[in-house]
Chain length 443, copies 2
Amino acid sequence: MPSPSTLLTDLYELTMLQAYWAERMNATAVFELFVRRLPSHRSFLVAAGLEQVTDYLLDLRFAADELAYLAETGRFAPAFLASLRDLRFTGDLDAMPEGTVCFPDEPIIRISAPMREAQFVESRLLNLIHFQTVVASKAVRCALAAPGKVLVDFGLRRAHGAEAALLSARATYLAGFSGTATVEAGRRFGVPIYGTMAHSYVQAHSDESAAFAAFARAHPENAILLIDTYDTERAAHAVVRLAPTLAGEGIAIRGVRIDSGDLGEHARRVRAILDGGGLSAVTIFVSGNLDELRVRDLLAQGAPIDGFGIGTRVNTSADAPYLDCAYKLQEYDGEPRRKRSEGKATWPGRKQVHRRYDSDGLWRGDVVTLASHPVPGVPLLEPVIRAGRLVAPLPELSAIRQRVDEDVARLPESLRALDGEAPPQVEIAPALRALAAEIDACT
Amino acid sequence: MPSPSTLLTDLYELTMLQAYWAERMNATAVFELFVRRLPSHRSFLVAAGLEQVTDYLLDLRFAADELAYLAETGRFAPAFLASLRDLRFTGDLDAMPEGTVCFPDEPIIRISAPMREAQFVESRLLNLIHFQTVVASKAVRCALAAPGKVLVDFGLRRAHGAEAALLSARATYLAGFSGTATVEAGRRFGVPIYGTMAHSYVQAHSDESAAFAAFARAHPENAILLIDTYDTERAAHAVVRLAPTLAGEGIAIRGVRIDSGDLGEHARRVRAILDGGGLSAVTIFVSGNLDELRVRDLLAQGAPIDGFGIGTRVNTSADAPYLDCAYKLQEYDGEPRRKRSEGKATWPGRKQVHRRYDSDGLWRGDVVTLASHPVPGVPLLEPVIRAGRLVAPLPELSAIRQRVDEDVARLPESLRALDGEAPPQVEIAPALRALAAEIDACT
């Protein structure tokens, strides 16, 4: 991703930095990013966005024009702004690998760096991890609802801006979608791209069949015809009548798309028309206001649908468009810290999450503890950046997809179900409880 | 805004363009962008995003590396890709001015251009108009709930990516907010920027009062102190004790911020503590999961709150994160067109919206008709681009804010209320109904 401006930050990061600078406070700070609670209709989350966070940290710097703007605001001391010229991320990043299934109260990311760096990156880190985690956690539900089906991200038009469109193409793909309609996501991330035609194409022709024929000739290997502009079944019959002519030219129609009406009922009728016309190889693709529940219902009815174009409701995660997440100071200059605001208290110290499995390899539960006090189970946070340098190349999207698959497969059915239960509260290890109590007693 | 790649588009725009190119179809097409229906909890919309759409159209072109990627996909004919090198927007754009109050079925934007240009721009036009209209239509409700109060956009961290953060700062500001915490929105759009401190700043100091004093000294003219890290009222007393020392140094604390607990109750207690300590000039600012309903409730209780930091629920428009909007072909090569898909039929032809007012200047209703058949009332769509060139400079954000104010003030109370009614169905003029019937009869 081309980075947006380093000024894509909350003003308070900079006002705090100026205060820290004036106080000469820049000891090592440990911050952790976590989700406080799950929205309804989510039994687990899929952590996503780490690659973009890593790029952001490695590329962090202020450009001259950005510093010039800050000077113009009249809010900052010139010597402080001069100090920002040299700001780089020189610290450590530990994180759950992208695609890890995770739960509330578990640190997804831990930053350990000089205070000014660790504080400054808060806004963009949250912005990047939050959004992709929201979308991946929604998209994985679609994948669970439609095993073996083609799922394509159609969400660019109603995604919240350009970056949301690109990153949701990435997040849906890593969570199990087959690809996206957004061309730039193909170029940037290598996500497979899919595309058919719009109603306007059919409307622009005076005859629907002529539109189908012209499109198929322009795309002899990829013709998916949109058949609901006027009358869906009539259009399906037109496809059947057209097929022999096209076949004579060496063109096989690949599929049809239905975008309105009762999708299940239309799919059944269209399937019968196509099969009756010898076109059993032509696939049926549907779209229009879909989400995991509608997809599940269509398949449960036995609708003969091969693929789904899924947009708005997943790209915006319409039933839960945000997560209650935070990036909190847990340690400063070697001393553990704890926020105690009502309803928003945090667990102090530098933490790790250990995952436990039963003898069949199924997920049994997670324990959050101090990194210095390991407990049994697989530790989830791994080193990503040390002293400002990448520890090892990040995984490819294909490997992230596989991790999602494996992690989800190990969850109990009670959490994998679309109307699954709330997960058990994550276990807080005794060492961590003891530290929290100790801090509370001292203040 | 720096434009994202021209490949930020749906693949089907390009597959259609190749078909049009193969068919040598490029006559003038008229497309209109409109919203099909209002979500619950919205009685009207505020049209927004026109400036970004205009920039997009004026700057439209494919870069060499973008065409190279398209060639690599193997989906396109080289001669077709060569034709894209010269693609520019040479057509016309008519639109409601930004900040216009609008309703379903009303064209917000009309594009009239050679088919390939008019079709290609669909995805990004929708992406830009949809999001800012969603946010402005939510933010204006906050402004209605809190007349005279300071409202600040705090939403960067949970906005859906970088562009959503920037554009929602712009959209909330044009809808009546006072400013934003997002620094880059200050630089790009001139939106006033606001910032205080985070809990981490207080936590990093071993003593809360020391943190307050250090921050105030680093920001002698702008110190707003966050007082809920440990115990809100205890911190308010600390502020009172600290004030005389700071006053001796010429520093006046400007305000306090409360971010957790019962905000109304804390505000009352803190106000009493501050007033009792002679700090009646110190303002109280609150934040934390706010939206227009919570703001209204807090003010209805008489909570002594001067300003609100409003983030996630407005930036993501959490109760209605998307609008059912579309960009549809209404005329091709001089012939009106109509889509008749179930539940998604469109009104054909090149249209205009006329707004009627009663003798007191209050809104009485809108009529949608053919542009060629004007009816009484003020026409809302105005020329913005003609033959690829801007007709006149676009309005400043300050003028857009004023338009929102005026348009909203002319609405009846039944639509302005937060739990307002659904607006009356927009009136369809007889000429338009007659045209639709004529098309249906011919096909």
